[in-house]
Every structure is written in C-alpha cells, then in structure tokens.
C-alpha cells in the first residue's frame, strides 16, 4: 500500500501531485462495514488452516491423540477454508478500494509513529493479497513461485493474522466510532452517502454469494449442480470420484503389482496375498475423501477394518498407532502414520472397493487406507505394509 512512504520531500513537488479522489465511500464507516466481514473471513481461514496444519504435522505430544471423529470434521474445516478464502478475495478488494486514497496522503510521513503505522499497513496488505493469491493458484494446481507452497502459505498466514490484530489495535477508536449505523463517527459522515453505501455493500454481498454458489459445490455436494467455476467437481474422476495423485504420477503400475503381498508387522507379524486379504471379515463405511485443496466427496467403501489387522498382528486396537507404507516410488506421503484413535476406529478401513467396485489403480488398487476426519493426502493408496507401533 505504502510505496509513497519512501518519497522524501515534505511538500508535493510541482511536477508531482498526488491524485485526488472526488468519489464517495472512501470513508471509515464503509471500511468498518466491509472490514469486519473480511476480518471474520481471515479468522476462519487462519483457524481452519491451523487445523489442517496440525492434523498433518502434529506436535509429538499430540500425534497419538488426534481424534477420528467427527467423521466430517476435516471435510468441513478444509471446505470452509477454501470457500471462505475465495469469498475473502471479493471482500479484500472492496476493502482496499475503499481505503485506496489513503495511499496518497500528504505528507506521506508525518512522524515516526505515522511511518510505522504505514509500514504495518503495507505488511498487512501484502500478506493478505499474498495469501489469497497463493491459495487461489494452489487450488488450480499452478505453482509459478520459487518457494514451496505449504510452508510459505503457513508462514505468511501468521504475518497476515498478526498484522490484522495490530491493525485492529491501531484503528480501534475509529472502528468503534463507525461500528454501528448510529455510532458517532457514522453520523458525522454525509447523510446522502447512506443509501449509496448500502448499495455498495449489497453489491459486495451479491459478489460473495455468486462466487460461493458457483464454487462451493466442490465440497458441499448438495450444490454440485451449481459447481461451474471450481477447480474440481465431485462427479469427475475415475469411478466417479476425483483423485489428486494418479498411479502414473506415483510410479505405480499394474505390472509392478503382480507380486503384491500385504505385510503386517507387530508382535505377531504376518503376510497376506490379495485373496487372503479379501477373505478376511469385511466391513463397510461411508466416508468422505477430503482433499487439502478443499474439495471433498462422500463415498461407500468396503474393506478390512484396520483394527482387525492390528489385532491379528498382536497389537491393541485403540491403543496402538499404525505406520502405513505405500508402493509409490517417491513422494512426501509414501509413508504415513496414524494415531491410536484413527487405527482403533471401527470405520477405519484398509479398503478394497469403492462404491461397489474393486478399487481402480488411480484410487489405490489393490488396497488403500480410508479413515474418518483426516486430510486426503494421508489416506494412503497402494498400501503394501502396515507396521503396528
């Protein structure tokens, strides 16, 4: 926001005059009315983002205790993260439009305090734009930057959230004075703007609604008929279910699976052929695949409960965690671990079928993990080894 901060002279040189803004609604009431929705959206993004982060990277003390319920937990939080983030794009741009003239205040810097305040606003605006931009590009699988998305989006989320809190502290008196329609500061603004402001807010709300309705169907499947502009659609994919990583991308091929065996280690290790695994007592579960990228779909899975496999290896279901090893040749998620709550949940399956059909190769044939309340990247496919921990 504050490139002008760097301009050294105290009065405008004749060759340069900051632009003047005759337009309306660049006022504190409009900024407050849009800003509180924007603030709420960023708060939702930050909290749901932290949920996603700590479900994937729990601190050691929590790793064994992550809850496997509610079944739809991660589906909700990550769906909300992306939907709210997309709505925040509209809110952020309207908010920045409202305060844009302040970029050109003259003199650009009045005091140290003023300079610091402007710097903090610059940090806020840069971090906020950065978050929605990187998020938006990430969900369309476009990574044009020289860094890796997850850790940097995580880092800048702290900067964005921190600078919002700082901004709220700095602006507290102004916010309070313009909070309500009858607040003192609001009433001091030109009365003829009231109707115009309402119209702008209405337009902003309509834009948020339009963006949401045309994209949220990628996670909220009752609205999938209106999913016209989202990067995913619940019905598009092998066996009617999207995938994020294909077998080809993971270096898994049908021929490589000819000698497949499931190895289970623990106090009483054993090995199963596919036929032997299929002959074990099976269970069915309706569980969502909920991707970190915000899309999610419920599906019907059938397979052997992880707790049965653990028990047969001499482990204690509900008390022992499990390490899962995939056949994929490389990738950050080749080996994953699940805590005791996941491994002991009767809904947690080493799945063999999806919606009544044998798993396709892209969905993890011959066997994959499906567990409630977990990010999709941890629903390991092409499983060939389980280690009771």
């Amino acid at each position: 926001m504050d490139v002008m901060t760097l301009r050294p002279r105290p009065t405008p040189p004749s060759a340069f005059r900051p632009p003047s803004f005759a337009g309306r609604l660049h006022d504190a009431r409009t900024a407050t009315a849009v800003g509180r929705w924007l603030g709420a959206a960023f708060a939702v993004c930050f909290v749901t983002g932290l949920v996603s982060h700590y479900l994937q990277h729990p601190p050691d003390w929590a790793a064994g205790r992550l809850p496997s319920r509610p079944v739809w937990g991660y589906r909700l939080t990550q769906g909300l993260h992306v939907a709210t983030g997309l709505a925040a794009i509209v809110l952020l741009l309207v908010k920045l439009w409202t305060v844009y003239p302040r970029l050109f205040v003259w003199p650009p810097v009045r005091s140290w305090r003023h300079a610091l305040e402007r710097l903090s606003v610059a940090v806020l605006v840069a971090a906020a734009l950065f978050q929605v931009l990187t998020g938006l590009l990430n969900i369309v699988e476009w990574y044009p930057w020289p860094f890796s998305f997850v850790p940097v989006h995580f880092a800048v989320a702290w900067i964005a959230t921190g600078s919002i809190l700082l901004h709220l502290a700095v602006k507290a008196p102004e916010i309070r004075a313009h909070w309500g329609r009858r607040s003192e500061g609001t009433l001091a603004l030109p009365a003829e703007d009231v109707r115009d402001r309402r119209s702008l807010l209405l337009g902003t709300g309509a834009a948020v609604a339009a963006v949401t309705v045309t994209t949220v169907g990628q996670a909220f499947t009752p609205l999938k008929a209106l999913d016209l502009l989202a990067p995913r659609h619940p019905d598009h994919g092998p066996q009617g279910l999207p995938v994020n990583r294909t077998a080809a991308a993971a270096g898994v091929s049908a021929s490589g699976l000819a000698a497949w065996r499931l190895e289970v280690t623990g106090p009483r290790p054993y090995t199963l052929t596919l036929a032997a695994l299929r002959a074990m007592p099976r269970a069915a579960a309706r569980l969502p695949i909920a991707c970190v990228e915000g899309w999610s779909v419920d599906a019907h899975w059938e397979g052997v409960p992880v707790r049965e496999l653990v028990e047969r290896a001499g482990g204690r279901p509900g008390r022992d965690g499990v390490r899962v090893v995939s056949m994929e040749t490389a990738g950050a998620y080749r080996v994953t671990e699940m805590g005791a709550d996941y491994a002991g949940d009767p809904l947690s399956l080493l799945a063999l079928t999806l919606n009544g059909q044998v798993l396709s190769l892209d969905h993890g044939f011959p066997a994959r993990i499906i567990v409630p309340n977990r990010p999709g990247v941890l629903q390991t496919k092409w499983v060939h080894r389980l280690e009771v921990l």
């Binding site: 590009l137 702290w158 921190g162 709220l168 119209s199 209405l202 502009l229």
Partner: protein, 159 residues
C-alpha cells in the same frame, strides 16, 4: 477507559508477536528473498494495476442512472472473473483428468450472462417503478440504492 487502553496494547502486542512468528518462519525458508519478492509483487500488482483499473471503470459510471445496480453487477462479474481467471490462463495440462475438468470459459460466459440478465431485469423493474412515481416529481431518488448522478462528482467506482 484504562482497561480498554490496556486491551488495545495487548492486542497490538499479540499482533506483533504473530508477525514475528511468521517472519521467523519465512526467514527459515530456503529462499526468503523469493517470498519477499512475491509479497511486494502482490502489493505492486494491486496498488499499481488492479486498483487503478477498477477506479477507471468506476469513472465510466459517474452520473449514470442506475449507477448502484450497474456497480453491483460489475463487482459481481469482477469477482467471478477473478476466481476463474487462473483456471483459464494456467499454462500446461492439468496434472490428471479429474483436476480442472469443467469447460470453464463456457461456464463463465453462462454465469456472466445470468448476471447481465439479472441486472437488466432489475433496471427495468426500477424504471417502471420510477415511471409510476413520476407524478411525485421524484423519479430518480425514489429508486433507492444510490442510483443516478445525485451524488455529483463521484469520481470513481468499483470492480
């Protein structure tokens, strides 16, 4: 008053703390300069290109009848275009057939057509209402929603 002041400083302090956490995380990245470049780039792109563009479009609306409705329509259309743009301009093939599976150009055109139709309907309804009220000698103002040039030099607009 005292407690409010304390709470305000505590909030600001907490903000600075979170910023510090984030900065440490960025610095620990292999390429912090790359992150900085993208942060600054986002700022310049918005303040230098997107915002002036939006203001220029807003100028086209100054003094027009039904300005509020038109502005709302442009905000809606702008938001829709922005979230769809990366899908349309992204280079290369999607990583797999279930990623980006929809005909986004066509779908965006459909959605924008719906926005245009809704806007036209709204303008027509308002016009009719204004005509009915013309006897009151208050044709424009009664339409509500800040339409028209009543505000005078509204030198800028919106998306």
């Amino acid at each position: 008053m005292r407690t409010a002041g304390t709470a305000r400083y505590a909030l600001g302090g907490l903000g600075v703390l979170l910023i510090g956490i984030g900065v440490r995380l960025v610095v620990a990245e292999p390429d912090p300069a790359g992150v900085l470049l993208w942060l600054a780039g986002a700022l310049v792109l918005h303040d230098g290109i997107l915002a002036p563009l939006v203001l220029a479009v807003g100028l086209l609306l100054v003094g027009r009848r039904h300005r509020g409705t038109l502005r709302g329509a442009l905000v809606v259309a702008g938001g829709l275009v922005l979230v769809t743009l990366p899908l349309l301009v992204r280079p290369g093939e999607p990583p797999n057939p279930s990623a980006l599976p929809l005909p986004y150009g066509r779908n965006l055109a459909i959605v924008l057509a719906v926005v245009a139709a809704g806007t036209t309907a709204r303008v027509l309804v308002r016009r009719r209402r204004e005509r009915a009220q013309r006897d009151d000698g208050d044709a424009e103002g009664a339409g509500g929603a800040g339409d028209g040039g009543a505000g005078g030099g509204r030198g800028d607009g919106d998306d």
